[in-house]
Amino acid sequence: MDYFPLVLSLEVAIAATAISLVIALLAAWALSFLEFRGKDLLDAAITLPLVLPPTVLGYYLLIVLGRESWLGQAWESLTGSPLVFTPKAAVIAAIVHSAPLLTKYLRAAIESVDPIYIKAARSLGLPEWMIYLRVVLPLCQRAIAASAVLAFARSLGDFGVTIMIAGNIPGKTQTLSVAIYDAVESGNASLARTLVLIVSAIGLLVVWVANRMNPPQALRS
């Protein structure tokens, strides 16, 4: 059996989770702690990928990142290779799939921190970013870890956006979920079954781990 799709999927999911975590930590901070014009709009924009069909998202990304686009050309002149239909595009697809949900999880986690600690830190003259990094995040670290684990599972499972912008190139961009589709299409039932079991096992493990990481009530004083 070819393990490439499994390895690629794990690599993509790890990279995507790491990047999503950074994006989501920033977005959740902005949405929870900052007051600015267009906050509702940002919130809506972050929710949008959760409701749009993956093919629509993929289409947008093709327009924004494709070889004809401004961003795609900038990338190509910088690195010498196109962005779309590469493993990197699979990472972007996984980020689009997981970052919005991760932002929602993190926002709930940081808003569950007792505001009294934030008030106390503010009255001590500490800057907002330091309060976020050294008070808020440590106080909900277990919830953040649990959310990151769920985001990892979600990154692992993207199909629609991946196939639109990374394609289905065996040995290059073919992730697990795409490989399953490919196996079914080509009538390779035993491969499909094996891959499905692998994905299911990983999913089960991840949910179990995330559930065990539930943040303890004690942190809410």
């Binding site: 009294i116 008030k119 009255s123 001590l124 003259g125 500490l126 440590p138």
Partner: protein, 356 residues
């Protein structure tokens, strides 16, 4: 010196009635107590001073520095206000040791001397031995000392305390009062303390502001306020007074005398300037200033005989409830000897009859 003038409105919504805070007061050296019932806007006032909430109008000056001025749009964030804030629940960061709590607060100080300052305060508040422990590993008293030490790390220009002793047992409460006295004498930080506990207000306050329904009803020393409540609302809140609706029947400036009629009873008071015959007034007389003895033989002139309707006892005193809603406070032993009497003689010393 902290000078506060604030307005904040909450329009009524759903099942909550509207509320308007409109308060003006000053906080000088020593301890100032903001005293009022729950829902009077005390904690809101503290939040507005600390910068946790925005007022609709007014301005706040701290040592001639403008913290808030709604008119010109000045609104300093809490970080720039120099207001230390002490929370009822201490709010020590649970993931940091006591020392880390202080050291974290010290990060806004210049690097040089941070370490010494933290050590000094840990020492001063007897926390050095346990500085490595987390807040949940130390006693309530130690947590409290640590939260005060942490607030003092940044050398605030004023310390705001929100009902700090609620939920403390008597021992901890007195330890806390001693610490507050030290803050005043040793650290010389002005303190603004919010409480609804009258006894606490009396123990701590150099100056007291009574807040009722979002307005300052009276300001002064606790003694002054007790001697002459400014309104029925204040007297009612202090809970130590009888408020008797009466009519002025006679005024004699020459003899400094007056006669008042309350419920068919004639009371003799001092002369009340700026009052007229026939004025309907509220006579305010402290429960413990009415002299009361069991009725023996014939009633004397100028005294009043009433039937005891009920009596309740507290730790030190007995409260005697008479007809007409009159309550008299008596030392417990004095009542214990005479509890079987039903008829009592009451006398109102002339000077105790204040008019509101």
């Amino acid at each position: 010196m902290l000078e506060v003038r604030l307005q904040k409105r909450f329009s009524p919504s759903g099942d909550s009635a509207g509320f308007e805070l409109s308060a003006q007061f000053q906080v000088g050296a020593g301890t100032t107590v903001l005293f009022g019932p729950s829902g009077s806007g005390k904690s809101l006032t503290l939040d507005l001073i600390a910068g946790f909430s925005k007022p609709d109008g007014g301005r706040i000056l701290l040592n001639d520095r403008l913290l808030v001025d709604v008119g010109t749009g000045v609104f300093l964030p809490p970080q720039q206000r120099d207001c230390g804030y002490l929370f009822q629940r201490h709010a020590l960061f649970p993931h940091m040791s006591l020392r880390e709590n202080l050291a974290f607060a010290a990060t806004s100080l210049p690097k040089l001397g941070r370490h010494r300052k933290v050590n000094q305060l840990l020492e001063s508040f007897r926390l050095t031995e346990i500085a490595g422990r987390k807040p949940n590993e130390v006693s309530g008293g130690q947590r409290q000392r640590c939260s005060i030490a942490r607030a003092l790390v940044v050398e605030p220009a004023v310390l705001l305390l929100d009902e700090p002793s609620t939920g403390l047992d008597t021992t901890l409460r007195h330890e806390f009062y001693e610490i507050l006295a030290r803050i005043r004498d040793e650290f010389a930080v002005p303190v603004l303390l919010v409480t609804h506990d009258l006894e606490e207000a009396f123990i701590l306050a150099d100056q007291m502001h009574v807040l009722i329904d979002g307005r300052i009803a009276q300001s002064g020393s606790p003694r002054e306020i007790l001697n002459q409540p400014a309104s029925a609302g204040v007297a009612d809140l202090l809970g130590l007074f009888n408020l008797l609706p009466a009519e002025i029947k006679q005024l004699d400036p020459g003899a400094n005398r007056s006669k008042l009629r309350w419920n068919d009873v004639e009371l003799e008071g001092p002369y009340y300037p700026a009052r007229l015959l026939g004025d309907r007034v509220t006579v305010c007389v402290r429960r413990d200033e009415i002299s009361v003895t069991p009725k023996m033989g014939k009633a004397e002139k100028g005294s009043l005989v009433l039937t005891l309707e009920a009596a309740s006892e507290t730790a030190r005193t007995a409260l005697l409830h008479f007809a007409g809603g009159l309550i008299v406070e008596l030392p417990l032993e004095e009542f214990a000897e005479n509890r079987h009497h039903s008829e009592w003689t009451l006398r109102f010393p002339t000077s105790t009859l204040r008019i509101l």
